[in-house]
């Protein structure tokens, strides 16, 4: 498999590998994929009060382009607003990393991981608002 230099760079020097506290209220976690399919991505975001993503971390089990796709995603997420992050499309990842057609599913998985992480964070916020409304009434 001939990969682009960008894929190789992300594979060899992955950005933002790590783990955030998945129980923290300001952290959203998305885990997508399945071991029997050959790729699992875990992507996490930590969101500030202003709705900007302060930090992003990933861990990925998968091929080189799966690792590169999630590494790139965390770079794009950091500093972005949650609303902008929700707009990231897999095609942008394909373009940036010059992924070959057989590896497009890796970019789809990265997009799914971003959406799942945002969804998790939004659920926590909704729960928090509901809880504080309940305690004030």
């Amino acid at each position: 498999m001939a990969y682009s230099d960008k894929v190789l760079d992300h594979y060899q020097n992955p950005r933002n590998v790590g783990t955030l506290d998945k129980n923290a209220l300001d952290v959203g976690t998305g885990v997508v994929g399945a071991p029997e399919c050959g790729d699992v991505m875990k992507l996490q975001i930590k969101v500030g009060d202003d709705g900007r993503i302060l930090d992003a971390k990933f861990k990925t089990y998968g091929c080189g382009s799966a690792i590169a796709s999630s590494s790139l995603a965390t770079e794009w997420l950091k500093g972005a607003s949650v609303d902008d992050a929700a707009q990231i499309k897999n095609t942008q990842i394909v373009e940036e990393l010059a992924l070959p057609p057989v590896k497009i599913h890796c970019s789809v998985l990265a997009e799914d991981a971003i959406k799942a992480a945002i969804e998790d964070w939004r659920k926590k916020q909704a729960a928090r608002i509901a809880a504080s409304a309940a305690s004030h009434s």
């Binding site: 498999m1 990969y3 190789l8 594979y11 992955p14 590998v17 783990t19 885990v31 997508v32 994929g33 399945a34 071991p35 029997e36 399919c37 050959g38 790729d39 699992v40 991505m41 875990k42 990933f58 861990k59 990925t60 089990y61 998968g62 091929c63 080189g64 799966a66 690792i67 057989v102 599913h105 789809v108 998985l109 799914d112």
Partner: protein, 404 residues
């Protein structure tokens, strides 16, 4: 030490320099066509082909006249399977093979299914063995051929040829074995192992690519084939086409070396493989060696590294040339059907690496490869969510995954 280090001898081998030396004159000086009966150029070529036939026959305990030259094992398998099926159609239309055979056996079998034949694809157990009772049970009076490989190309498991051969003989069914991976690694003897047809390829035994042969028994019983390549009637009409003299000379020499050096080479390979496997397993004890660890080719080990995906591991150890059962290294995006056939589960298939060592492998290369693999598996595990979950005590089989 020069990198990349070659550890994919089961894919192909370099030509032994002794083989190349033997071949060289046949390109330029003694370049005749062995079918030319009217002059010395042809006679010299024919003598060289006959000598090579003796060398290859000696390697498998056959008579030289039982060796039929082909372009390699794929052609030999096609000729054996389709040739027997078409010749013995009146006797029966049933053939038997196993799910872990090479595609060069499975695909001719599938082709025959479209032509009105019935094929039984036997399952294998976790070690890669067919159940001999099941094999015996599958044979009917309509069965004309059993095709089971000598040694599996992905995991190295050895089929008990003598037992399978005896069973076939007892039932009056022809026995073909794809022995591509076996020569120079295990003893092959068509008499004691009761083999009727046997496929070989030169490039797996330090000979050139593009040449191989099919052994076809001519006594007890005399096996007949319908040719698959028609033309000038070469090879007693069973395989027309001007012979690849240089390749054949090379294959003969490679076979002679493999026969002479079998025992010393096997000892060396066993030592190197044990060294590689031990070093890896000591550092990564949760790795899994696939296949039968006893009845196995001496030069090959197929190891799964749980929680790490095979293609990314191969990318990380690019100084070492190995192959993987991972889906991502194949065009089909399906993990190895051989490993799946063992009932391993896709996850272990995705994380498997095949190391195959050979005549020119050194201890220093083995140590280097083991250390690189260990370092890279650890690096990839540090970024694997599966590894993290396992460390947290999560049972991965209980997790609800979002398959895609």
């Amino acid at each position: 030490m020069k990198t990349p280090i070659y550890m994919d001898y089961s894919a192909t081998t370099p030509c032994d320099p002794r083989v190349v030396q033997r071949m060289l004159p046949f390109f330029t000086e003694t370049f005749g066509n062995s079918a030319s009966r009217s002059h010395a150029f042809g006679w010299t070529a024919e003598a060289a082909v006959d000598h090579a036939r003796e060398q290859v026959a000696a390697l498998i305990g056959a008579h030289p006249k039982e060796i039929l030259w082909t372009s390699g094992s794929t052609e030999a398998n096609n000729l054996a399977i389709k040739g027997v099926a078409q010749m013995y159609r009146q006797k029966g239309n049933h053939l038997i093979t196993a799910v872990t055979e090479h595609k060069a056996v499975l695909d001719p079998m599938k082709y025959l299914e479209t032509q009105g034949f019935e094929v039984t694809f036997l399952p294998v157990n976790r070690l890669g063995h067919v159940d001999l009772e099941q094999l015996a049970f599958a044979m009917t009076d309509r069965t004309i051929l059993v095709s089971l490989m000598a040694a599996n190309n992905e995991i190295g498991t050895l089929h008990p040829l003598a037992k399978i051969g005896a069973l076939c003989k007892q039932k009056g069914v022809l026995f073909h074995t794809d022995a591509t991976q076996a020569p120079g690694k295990i003893e092959l003897d068509v008499e004691s192992q009761h083999i009727d047809l046997l496929s070989l390829s030169a490039h797996k035994l330090y000979g050139p690519k593009g040449v191989g042969c099919l052994y076809v028994r001519r006594k007890n019983p005399r096996v007949r084939l319908v040719s698959q390549m028609d033309g000038g009637g070469h090879e007693r009409g069973m395989r027309s086409g001007t012979l690849n003299i240089t390749g054949i000379v090379g294959m003969g020499e490679a076979a002679a070396i493999a026969k002479t050096e079998l025992h010393s080479e096997v000892q060396k390979l066993l030592g190197l493989r044990a060294r590689l496997q031990m070093r890896i397993m000591n550092s990564l004890p949760d790795s899994v060696v696939n296949g039968d660890q006893d009845a196995r080719l001496p030069h090959l080990t197929n190891i799964s590294f749980p929680y790490v995906e095979g293609e990314s591991l191969i990318m990380g150890i690019k100084e070492i040339a190995v192959s993987s059962g991972s889906a991502c290294t194949s065009a089909s995006l399906e993990p190895s059907y051989v490993l799946k056939g063992l009932g391993l589960g896709d996850e272990l298939a995705h994380s498997s690496i095949r190391f195959s060592l050979g005549r020119f492998t050194t201890e220093a290369e083995v140590d280097f490869a083991a250390d690189r693999v260990i370092a890279e598996v650890n690096r990839l595990r540090a970024m694997s969510p599966l590894w993290e979950m396992v460390q947290e005590g999560i049972d991965l089989s209980q997790v609800k995954w979002t398959s895609h």
